[in-house]
């Protein structure tokens, strides 16, 4: 049963997830793009040794929980040795970037079992610390990222400049090297054609608005990643306050208002889209990814407005990942053609949402 109040907590009705990412480079090495493969391997070994084998050693576990007995192991994944489909799987789960998934240079990612933390080594920068949380838990994500940074920073010499701050391969990340971002579901603002206003406002505030898969993906669907662009001349906590205190609440309020207006003025149209969406997902035999995402978006809006009480928000959030290509191809055997994949996608959607 959907509990609307529980959904509003952590702004989960609008904010799918949030992310804090820190870019760091190890002093004494060229940046990744300029480094030779042996140098990249050395960076990898250096960072891996500094990060240690578990959450506690990398600094994720703070306070009284420190101790190998309670800490979970970090899974280190060697990207260069990983099959292409598995690399795509990591990308679909938002654990690595698309750029990191491709290529054959020495690089690895460390992931915690709950997948809320990942450490990419030798992406564009030597180290990319990423903390993910469901819903609007920016402060918690920020604290975790800062803890890891402090731990690694006490063991590694990070490239730093008194004027420019943390040095990064791309000067757009220089300074704090931080990206604070939220993935928001702005279905109602799309329907009411107000999304352009949001994009314009974001631009004025020096924010980037991207698609479901972040950098390089078009913001064409109903999911948007909003993140800071400025990293110089700002403080980490200042950015956090701006995001958690001003930007996210404003976006959430704006989307909720659009939902309220839709429900009040165009209820039949809204219900039509929502129920068509759930019917389609529960009965289709062939389902393309774009169509699946579009219908999931309508259904998600319906769930958030209490129109579909028997579907949980978490189920839908998981489906946005489970219906991606590599996930289907990993979970189901014998998928060879695109039609096989579309059939598998429809099967998974029907099974999880309950065929009617």
């Amino acid at each position: 049963m959907t509990d609307l109040t529980a959904m509003m907590a952590g702004d989960r009705d609008v904010v799918m997830s949030c992310r804090v990412r820190l870019a760091r480079n190890v002093s004494g090495f060229p940046f990744v793009g300029r480094a030779t493969h042996p140098q990249r391997r050395e960076v990898l070994e250096t960072v891996r040794a500094a990060a240690g084998p578990d959450e506690a050693s990398v600094g994720l576990v703070g306070g009284g929980r420190v101790g190998a007995s309670t800490a979970e192991s970090l899974a280190w994944v060697d990207l260069a040795a990983l099959p292409k489909r598995d690399r795509q799987l990591l990308w679909e789960r938002h654990l690595i970037s698309r750029q990191f998934a491709e290529g054959d240079s020495p690089r690895a990612v460390a992931v915690t079992p709950d997948e809320r933390f990942s450490l990419m080594v030798n992406e564009e920068d030597h180290v990319r610390i990423q903390v993910l949380r469901t819903g609007n838990m920016l402060r918690e994500a920020f604290d975790a990222a800062v803890r890891v940074d402090a731990t690694l920073g006490s063991r590694l010499d990070f490239a730093f400049h008194p004027k420019w701050g943390y040095l990064t391969a791309c000067p757009t990340n220089v300074g704090c090297g931080i990206r604070i971002g939220v993935m928001v579901h702005l279905r109602a603002l799309r329907v009411t054609n107000e999304i352009e206003k949001v994009k314009r406002a974001a631009k004025e505030l020096h924010l980037a608005v991207r698609g479901f898969h972040g950098e390089g993906s078009e913001a064409t669907g109903d999911w948007f990643q909003i993140s800071n662009q400025r990293t110089l001349g700002v403080t980490e906590t200042g950015l956090l306050e701006e995001f958690a205190g001003r930007i996210v609440p404003a976006v959430v309020a704006y989307e909720r208002e659009a939902r309220r207006v839709l429900l009040e003025r165009q209820r039949t149209l809204l219900e039509d889209r929502v129920f068509r969406g759930i019917s389609l997902l529960r009965s289709a035999r062939l389902l393309g990814l774009d169509e699946a995402m579009k219908q999931l978006s309508s259904v998600r809006l319906g769930v958030c407005l209490g129109l579909i009480p028997d579907v949980a928000l978490d189920t839908l959030n998981r489906l946005t990942i489970q219906l991606q290509s590599a996930h289907l191809r990993t979970g189901e055997s014998g998928i060879e053609s695109d039609d096989d994949e579309r059939a598998a996608r429809a099967r998974v959607a029907r099974t999880i949402l309950g065929e009617q």
Partner: protein, 172 residues
Amino acid sequence: MAAPFRPCDHCAKPAVVHNTVIVNGQMNEVHLCEDHAGAAGIQMPGQAPIHQLLGQLAQVAVTRPRGPACPECGHTFHDFKTSGLLGCPACYDAFASTVGPVIERSHGGASEHIGNVPARADDANQRAALLQQLLRELETAVSAEQYERAAQLRDRIKDLRPTTAARIDAAP
């Protein structure tokens, strides 16, 4: 329509290369068959050997002005313009005059880092430099009556000082 037959200047075979050459202001027409053109070192259209083409391309790449290189890693400003990426930490100083303005533009005009400092900055000098810079900024903020900013700066100076002092004390 087929081209009118024209024999080679040196034999009876049909000429396939028709060149106009000017020697000492005198214009001459040259008509050569495939064999004699080859003997004269003239390539047929579309017959340029790939190694020659690649050689020319390589030459173009070499002769294109690439600007000064970073003394640490050899990265050039041209490399930066092409990839958007710098080669190593030293590039920031090597290209300060050219990359600096680009950085400032992409960060809304900001030209100084005011965020966290790593626990292990490269050396104590960097912390000391940062401290000096923050003190200068504090002076500016106070004289401009920007009290909120001044308070932020004071906090950062307070955070920086003990470590700097400890490092200086610990230095031999």
